[in-house]
């Protein structure tokens, strides 16, 4: 029987686990990484196919992954099956829990938008009185953001206002298209900033843990990885009360196994890390494990058409100058002024579209619809919302004692809902979007003020929030458990509050910072 004790056990292999593995192994620390799902090999597991060769002609297979709006028949098999790993919620308050258990996790499929938080987020309470400030400030994290941006090769321009700090970018000096220039001109008198998008270029079209982080860890010779290891619970040394490894079940054989380590790093993704803590009865002296679940509102927006781009052929050079490109409108509400409708704010993703305008933007069918599609081709312009969701105690997860997954592990019950703050924000976004479109001379084709269900953005954060007070937080400012000095949570669960920004860069920077702190503490033999 094997009885090896590793220095650090890392549970999860996505962005946060990959970063922990890279930092720790490069510091000479022997790590064992467990991942709940298999390794995906695109040559073995995937092939290009037309939709008509698939049983459902490209429609999402009925009933299997109802809460993954992002899914279709082509990618249905990469998501976690909702029957295999269920979760429960009030039917009146559905939650879209979008999960990937392949090795590399959701880092294999993310949209790669790459933003820093600012002190409008880290110190939100100081700004408007709501919620809690983070125990760290932007200055604490800025150096880590820079290093992460260089690893992920983030492209962008140095054009951010204070609420969207600039970074170490591959500079984007492309010209704005004509439609974007008109949009910027419409936004300027309203004090709405329009900036170049910020996106991780990665390498070979991928910006993932599996190609940017894990290979570095592997080269050190200090990383051992196991796939298909579904962790049941973290184990505890009965003498010291400290975590000392975990019990897991092999996904396919269902053999029960265990491993030992001096330190446990949770990086399973916000809600799976929290589920593990709850199932292990650990780190919860504050009673706040599972509390303050938040994400971002998505789904609201405005679709327009640029009249001058209509009826032109794709090869028309004038249309090429007029259309194309993307922009980010960083939060502009509640920065210098104060809205009486909602706290915090939202961003717009803006796209000038050179391809087809979707048929649902026209109240027509048959030949009349085809005429519209022909005429409007290459003239689309859209603004979609990414809004901050307030961090609230009552939005939480807990263990559902009545339901287990395919390996008999108790599942999560998720209770969260949006409030008037989020709904008013979404309505404001649609109103502002229509106003900007009108000022720019665009025709509004369709609009939607209703957010998608919570969870849809795949930006779930919180549930193990960090803070200085052990009674008011689960983790300290180093993502370390207040209760157990050798237990760390390095994924999105550590967030004290959210923002309008996609959280990936912040997750990576926090994991890098926590892992370097952990390596230092281990070298000083404090852990």
């Amino acid at each position: 029987m094997r009885n090896e004790t590793y220095d650090v056990l890392i549970i999860g292999s996505g962005h946060s686990g990959g970063m922990a593995a890279k930092v720790l192994t490069e510091a000479g620390i022997r790590c064992l990484m467990l991942n709940a799902g298999p390794v995906a090999d695109v040559l073995r597991d995937a092939a290009r196919k037309p939709a008509y060769e698939l049983p459902y002609r490209g429609f999402r297979p009925p009933g299997r992954i109802e809460h993954v709006f992002q899914s279709n028949e082509f990618n249905a098999n990469v998501w976690v099956d909702e029957e295999e790993v269920p979760y429960t919620f009030d039917p009146g308050q559905p939650y879209n829990w979008v999960r990937v258990r392949l090795f590399g996790g959701r880092s294999l499929f993310w949209s790669r938008q790459s933003f820093r938080l600012s002190d409008y987020e880290f110190k939100g309470k100081s700004h408007d009185g709501f919620g809690e400030d983070w125990p760290i400030s932007y200055a604490d994290l800025a150096p880590y953001y820079s290093r992460v941006e260089r690893i992920f090769r983030v492209a962008g321009a140095l054009d951010g206002p204070p609420q969207m700090p600039d970074g170490s970018f591959i500079l984007d000096d492309s010209r704005w298209s004509g439609s974007m220039q008109r949009f910027i001109a419409a936004a300027k008198p309203r004090n709405i900033p329009v900036c170049k998008q910020r996106r991780a270029l990665g390498v070979d079209g991928l910006a993932s843990s599996v190609n940017l982080l894990l290979p570095d860890a592997g080269r050190t010779g200090n990383l051992t990885s196991i796939a298909d290891a579904v962790v049941r619970e973290i184990t505890v040394d009965s003498n010291t009360g400290l975590p000392n490894g975990c019990n897991f079940v092999d996904r396919l054989s269902r053999r029960e196994m265990s491993v030992k380590a001096r330190v446990v790093v949770l990086a399973a993704g916000t809600l799976e890390s929290t589920r593990l803590l709850l199932n292990s009865n650990l780190a919860n002296s504050s009673g706040l494990v599972g509390r303050y679940l938040t994400d971002q509102i998505y789904g609201a927006g405005v679709v327009c058409s640029v009249p001058e781009a209509r009826g032109r052929k794709p090869e028309d050079a004038a249309r090429g100058m007029l259309m194309g490109g993307t922009a980010i409108v960083p939060r502009f509400r509640n920065i210098d002024t104060k809205s009486d409708k909602f706290l915090r704010g939202y961003a717009f993703n803006v796209s000038s579209i050179t391809g087809a305008v979707a048929p649902r933007n026209f109240a027509a069918y048959g030949a009349e619809l085809q005429r519209k599609l022909d005429e409007y081709y290459g003239s689309g312009f859209q603004m979609t919302l990414m809004g901050e969701v307030l961090s609230r105690y009552e939005n939480h997860v807990r263990i559902d004692k009545d339901k287990v997954d395919a390996w008999d592990i108790p599942v999560l019950r998720i209770e969260t809902k949006y409030t008037d703050n989020e709904f008013n924000m979404a309505q404001d976004a649609v109103d502002v979007g229509c106003e900007l479109a009108e000022a720019a001379g665009f025709e509004v084709l369709s609009k939607n003020p209703a957010p998608n269900p919570p969870g849809y953005s795949i930006h779930e954060i919180g549930t193990c929030r960090m803070g200085n007070d052990p009674k008011q937080s689960v983790l300290n400012p180093w993502c370390q458990s207040h209760d157990h000095k050798n237990l760390f949570v390095v994924d999105g669960a550590a967030f004290t509050s959210g923002g309008w920004q996609n959280p990936t860069m912040t997750i990576l920077a926090l994991s890098m910072r926590a892992s370097e702190y952990l390596a230092g503490e281990m070298s000083k033999q404090n852990i």
Binding site: G63, N77, D81, L252, R254, V303, R360, A363, Y365, Q370
Partner: protein, 236 residues
Amino acid sequence: MLRRDFVRAVISFLFAAKVSRAQQANDPTLPPPAPVPWTLGLNSRTPIPATQLPDEIAATELRFFSEKQMATLMRLSDVLLPPLNGKPGAVEAQTPIFLDFLIGSSPEPRRKTYSGGLDWLEAASLAKFQAAFAKLNDSQAGDLLKPWLRTWMSDHPPTEPHAEFINIAHDDIRMATINSKVWSDVPSVGAEESAEVALYWSPIEPDIYGPEGSGHIPPHVQAAPKAAHAMPSYPR
């Protein structure tokens, strides 16, 4: 035959067989001598059999919609996406019978949207034109459909009764038709949409050993069903 000749013949036969076997072993184009292990077979040079899509060949029976609902859906599909500019319409793409399969396999709310919507459309047609929807001309069908057309953004179809059904059905009919083989067989020109072609992910090491009801994906080739009696267990 003299005994001596017989012995010589046997020896020469055995020698020839040995040489032949040796030649076979050295010649990769010849099959290995029988008996071969039954697991030998497929290799990288094995030709892939050519097959057809079943819904181009075979018929299926209605299993979800009633005959009357199907007649309404056929007409609705033809009105919303008729043959245009050489492209086949929804009926030629077998979209209505595909939707019988898709919607019949779907969760209850989707099924209700369709069956309730088709029944409403038929009732509205009888009330306004004293004729089944399937018998209406394009103009009459338009009178019933156009008041309910809405513009909408993805994932947010209209929620008001009737508009919900008409707009969802329109979206589904278009997608099922555009992603059909017959639509793809006619090249798209200009802004005409094309069948989606994308990276399809097979199940990645699916949990084929999982217990019943665990949500595992069964293998596409099943061994013989488990016998009711205990099977002897020994190394084979």
